[in-house]
Subunit: 315 residues, 2 copies
DNA sequence: CCTGACTGATCGGTGCTACCGATGAATGCA
DNA sequence: TGCATTCATCGGTAGCACCGATCAGTCAGG
């Protein structure tokens, strides 16, 4: 048996159904035309066309009024349901059309999310009521893949974003800080510069964390046989245990107690030793205006201690 | 508070929803256009127009495929419901569009219905499966009023129908028979003619029955102080009791046992002494073709003993 | 019985717009 | 770097919804 093909609703128009429903309500072509904002002749012709399409007469016309035929009444009931659904569609559209409403799936790299999200969630909630941020965490590559697949709408990471087909807008520059044991020689430098950092005491995050590459590119000459940490938290405690030092992004460390004085932190001499954090989305995502508005808001509500700094622009 | 006006679904078209749904299904503008039977450009423009109408982007376009935005997916779900309802409307229409289906409310005059209906119900049921005849009985004036009010769709009565705005088609000629006590003088006439009937022994139905007027117009000179009966059945028994004689339509008497020989029936000499039974409906009723088809069928399946006889035509 | 008012149907003319084919722009693949 | 694919865009066209005017039938009132 041939499967039932959905019949193309050839020629059926919501406008015609509206006309017919108006006639059914008012029982008068002229008044129905007035309600529908068209001339009586136009409405009359359309209703006639609709009757031809449906294959039966919807109304019994007389000169003292119009009355639906029994079958017509049945069809009018159904037509009103169609119209109701259509109106519901329009209402739904205008309800969800507002920018920055509804769920928004945002990912952030692991060296940023836990330290930045607490600062942004509350202001965003307050400003964009109706926006439901769903935040998740991961490494850059995984986040980008999720973004491409559509399971994420936007990603917070260090610019520039890897790969094509993406759009990004910078949010802020996050400087790196040197974190080392309080008794370490580096702790005595007033403003250590990156050339001071080479050495096998440098601890890095494991493969996959972009922070690892960022630190590596700063500290030339140190590439092999270094200690690794699986997370910022682990790294912090390794430093506290005196196993070495590292560069950590400002947000990840600035709110930390210095572990009873056994850890020292200092800014680097180079003002642009750090990374630029930005929001990234698919270039094809039609919500780009909304994302840019969100970026503007985020820049206006940076966590304390941050500013735009180096690395502006939208690659 | 101003009551919520039903928003005129300005510009919204089922075709556009179909286009969008096709894109949502196939994730490809070209294939969707093919399914919809239009060019890719036309579909693209219409979808774009729809997005403008709804105030948001339904799809995220890329060169490797199209994917609905989260909001777009929500709206597409709703749009599919609208389309489903619309398709249901068309299906419903084609299901009930078949002529002579569904309920049909038919009235018949009391001197005809009980004797004619038993003959027609079975053939009609057999021929027009799907047609549900709802028969009722009454006097001409009441039937016509019900017909005008719409609580009846058609009426079986003696032509011509009273009043304007009605259409009728003749079904058959029903001759009157003389019914009298077996020992009555009229019983001895071979072919009595109407002039033999004058006299105060004529029994008539009470006011309101058209049969009364029909008999009266035949039997001139007998107008006052006659016996009355409230129904054909009563009349029959009055005759059997020897209280007089009457003219009764063929169908009302031809199947009766002659009460053990105490009642005699005879045809009248005048071949056109009788009435023409026809089907009557509102001139404005768009089902006129169906009624005429029904009339044709009824004429082809007359009760035994009848033929078209005098009185054809459609007044 | 005639007349005016009212109803829905019908008829030419007109303008909007859905539609088409061709082309353009952007992307991914070989 | 060509080549294929995909959606967007553009100019031209035809269909059709629409309008104003008119027609045809009915009804109420004079």
């Amino acid at each position: 048996m041939i499967s039932k093909r959905a019949p193309s609703l050839s020629g059926l128009s919501l406008r015609d159904l509206e006309y017919a429903a108006a006639v059914g309500d008012l029982r008068h072509f002229g008044k129905a035309a007035e309600r529908c904002g068209v001339s009586q002749s136009a409405l009359s012709e359309q209703v006639r066309k609709l009757e031809g399409l449906l294959g039966l007469a919807l109304f019994e016309r007389s000169h003292r009024g119009v009355v639906p035929t029994p079958r017509g009444a049945t069809l009018l009931d159904h037509a009103r349901r169609v119209l109701e659904e259509a109106r519901g569609l329009l209402e739904l559209a205008s309800a969800i059309a507002a920018p920055l409403t509804g769920p928004l799936y945002v990912g952030a790299i692991a060296t940023l999310g836990p330290y930045y999200m607490p600062h942004l969630l509350r202001p965003v909630r307050a400003e964009f009521t109706g926006l439901a941020l769903r935040v998740s965490e991961g490494q850059t590559a995984d986040l980008i893949e999720s973004l491409r697949l559509g399971s994420l709408d936007a990603v917070l990471l260090a610019l520039p974003p890897p790969g094509d087909g993406l759009r990004a807008e910078a949010l802020f520059f996050e400087p790196f800080r040197l974190v080392c044991p309080a008794e370490h020689r580096l702790a005595r430098l007033n403003h250590p510069c990156v050339s001071d950092l080479a050495g096998d005491e440098l601890i890095l995050l494991e493969e996959g964390h972009c922070l690892r590459e960022q630190a590596l590119s700063l500290c030339e000459g140190a590439e092999t046989a270094m200690r690794q940490a699986t997370s910022v938290e682990m790294l912090w405690h390794m430093i506290a245990a005196g196993e070495g030092y590292s560069l950590l992004p400002l947000l990840a460390v600035q709110d930390r107690a210095p572990m009873g004085g056994i850890i020292a932190m200092s800014d680097l001499a180079e003002p642009n030793a750090g990374r630029t954090i930005g929001l990234v989305w698919r270039a094809t995502d039609p919500r780009e205006p909304e994302f840019r508005e969100l970026c503007g808001f985020l820049r206006a509500h940076l966590p304390p201690g941050l500013n735009g700094g180096p690395g502006q622009g939208t690659p």
